[in-house]
């Protein structure tokens, strides 16, 4: 009896190591996810506290003495053709990229989830919805986005809408795939047999199965939306030029690529680091949530 009690205590002690050990263990098991989370946290922190971190106002002009200065103590990342501080603009630009990326991911996942649930569960409208989704997928995303931007008034909302629409079909297809498999599991039929209505069957019994793949998909949508936003802005079809975003900054710096590389280099690096870290989170979550992809521990 007493040995059993002691064993139990030892067992419990072994189950709950101190917090720092647990964090260390998590990092060792999920290196990608941990690195991605760390990087994204830093980027989000910098973007939120940009006004306090940047010494200069991103819109402050210095046309007389500060044009096209290389990186220095005064201009950490150099200055652009109007004498604006590239460092200040780069960290303020992160706000646009993150806002666009996160909003597009949330919107695309929400709308795609609804479309996918309906399509997968209500057989009568499945073919119709999926053909519409196929149609959207047949047009290159960026082209479709430019089309929407041409139709709608300029602004960040337009960019978000234009980037969300091409992402919806991918999310919808993913959700539909999960629904089609899940609806055949006996507990779904059991819920119907118990007298559950369609809404309850869909939202309570089927939808939770889509969450794991959706979270992963959301990170990829976020990364791809940030890249697309930059591409649109670079092409002059995205964020209005007066708002600093990585895309508009790179478009600005294009003409000075050989003489003032820093104008295009730093926003480019920031964009690459952000997209990379979001993708790392996506990969890490997939490994964590789907044991089939998990590596040996």
């Amino acid at each position: 009896m007493s040995t059993a009690a002691v064993n139990e205590m030892e067992f419990e002690a072994a189950e709950a190591p101190p917090l720092h050990r647990r964090i260390a263990g998590f990092v060792r098991r999920n290196p990608n996810l941990s690195l991605g989370l760390l990087m994204v946290s830093v980027i989000i922190f910098v973007a939120i506290f940009a006004p306090w971190i940047a010494a200069k106002d991103p819109a402050e002009l210095n046309v007389v003495t500060g044009r096209l200065k290389p990186p220095s103590a005064e201009y950490w990342f150099g200055s652009d053709r109007f004498g604006r501080d590239v460092f200040a603009r780069a960290i303020f630009g992160g706000r646009i990229s993150l806002t666009v990326g996160i909003t597009v991911a949330l919107l695309a996942v929400f709308i795609g989830l609804m479309v996918g649930l309906l399509s997968g569960y209500v057989r009568q409208i499945d073919a119709w919805l999926m053909r519409i989704m196929d149609g959207l997928m047949a047009i290159p995303g960026l082209l479709l986005a430019i089309g929407f931007i041409a139709l709608l008034p300029a602004g960040i909302e337009t960019v978000i809408i234009a980037l969300t629409i091409p992402e919806i079909p991918r999310v919808a297809r993913l959700v539909r795939g999960v629904v089609v498999v899940t609806r055949e599991i006996t507990y779904v039929e059991a819920a119907v047999a118990a007298g559950a209505g369609t809404a309850r069957v869909i939202f309570k019994h089927i939808m939770p199965n889509t969450f794991a793949p959706l979270i992963v998909q959301a990170t990829f949508v976020c990364a791809s939306a940030m890249l697309s936003e930059a591409a649109l802005s670079f092409l002059g079809a995205g964020t209005p030029p007066e708002i600093p975003s990585w895309g508009t900054m790179m478009a600005d710096g294009r003409s000075y690529l050989s003489s003032a590389t820093w104008i295009i280099l730093f926003p480019g690096l920031f964009l690459a680091a952000t997209v990379l870290s979001v993708n790392l989170i996506g990969d890490g979550l997939r490994d964590l949530l789907d044991p089939r992809f998990a590596k040996e521990v």
Partner: protein, 352 residues
């Protein structure tokens, strides 16, 4: 129990000429290229308080019958009368409310419970969706159901994976019982369980039947289990009932050649005894997509005649309460190849 089953009054469930065909769709336009004749003309009745066993080998359509009766699968033809009311075509919402009266216990205790829900929520779901109880009252009723099926109330907040197979099946039973239905379809409710657990669950089902005056449509392929729990048994072969009678008659005097073969396959629990009356069938069950003409069983029947190949036999009452679908037993046995002695005697009785 048997008295109650044979007493007068309308039956609880009356299924007539039930057909469930699944279309086979092919190609881009998903046009129908054929049908799976899963259930192809099945009729039976279940009295109040009775257990009606449905046996047959895999793929004979017995599960489809059970699910069609509950309209979890829509019937193609025929009618289902439940508590004196035709429910074959009633609207979805009305059917949903009627599910309070008819429930199902599934074969697989693993896939039939949502792994993300607590046991108490699973058992309480029928009560919740029919607005019968909520909050504390709901929890109390669920706790009472737990106790009734032999689960401990401390397990209310456990998830399905924390239970054993037998316990999970008890959760399934508690869920079916929650609304105090009058009919429970048991879709092979014990076949996935260990033999020792099977007996416990069967006894639980029989106790519950007595306490709640339940009727069971008990679907199984294990004849010993069906013999133990049922009053009457229907034998199915390829979408049709070939023989239907009370269990004593079926086990002592099976008339359909398929029932004969099926019963002779029941093992005798004594290694010293070998069965002498063993009927071994040759060939496989034909595909329900393209069932044979005439009697569905003729290709494997040792007594098949020309008539069996051409003409489909109908279910006829050869003696009171004993229905057989076989040309050997329809009273005009003149062209039967080799009527067996014992059946000949019966036919004389029927046709003086």
């Amino acid at each position: 129990m048997t008295e109650a089953a044979t007493s007068g009054g309308e039956p609880l469930l009356k299924v007539s000429g039930l057909k469930t065909h699944f279309p086979i769709r092919k190609g881009v336009l998903a046009h129908v290229t054929g049908h799976v004749y899963a259930v192809d003309g099945v009729s039976f009745e279940i009295e109040r308080g009775e257990t009606f066993g449905l046996v047959g080998e895999s793929g004979c359509g017995k599960t489809t019958v059970g699910k069609t009766v509950l309209r979890l699968i829509e019937p193609t033809e025929g009618s289902i009368e439940f508590e004196g009311r035709d429910i074959t075509r009633i609207p979805r919402e009305e059917m949903r409310r009627l599910r309070q009266r008819m429930q199902i216990i599934y074969q697989d205790p693993y896939s039939s419970l949502n792994p993300r829900m607590k046991a108490a929520d699973i058992v309480g779901e029928p009560l919740k969706v029919h607005d019968i109880a909520s909050g504390g009252a709901l929890r109390e009723r669920v706790a009472a159901l737990f106790e009734r099926v032999g689960l401990r109330p401390e397990q209310l907040d456990n998830y399905p994976h924390q239970f054993s197979g037998g316990q999970r099946q008890r959760i399934g039973i508690a869920r079916a019982l929650a609304l105090s239905p009058s009919l429970i379809v048991g879709d092979e409710p014990v076949s996935a369980l260990d033999v020792s657990i099977q007996a416990q669950v069967i006894n639980l089902l029989m106790d519950l039947q007595e306490d709640y005056e339940l009727s069971y449509l008990f679907i199984a392929h294990d004849l010993a289990v069906v013999e133990h729990i049922s009053q009457r048994i229907g034998v199915m072969y390829l979408g049709r009932i070939v023989e239907l009678t009370d269990k004593r008659t079926l086990f002592s005097n099976p008339l359909h050649p398929y029932s004969e073969a099926l019963l002779s396959a029941v093992p005798i629990p004594d290694p010293g005894v070998t069965r002498e009356d063993r009927v071994i069938l040759t060939g496989d069950v034909p595909s329900p997509i393209d069932p044979p003409k005439g009697c569905h069983f003729h290709a494997r029947c040792p007594y098949a005649t020309e008539r069996c190949r051409m003409e489909s036999p109908s279910l006829k009452e050869v003696e009171p309460g004993h229905w057989v679908s076989c040309h050997l037993h329809d009273g005009s046995a003149a062209d039967a190849a080799e009527p067996r002695p014992e059946t000949e005697g019966q036919m004389e009785n029927l046709n003086p």
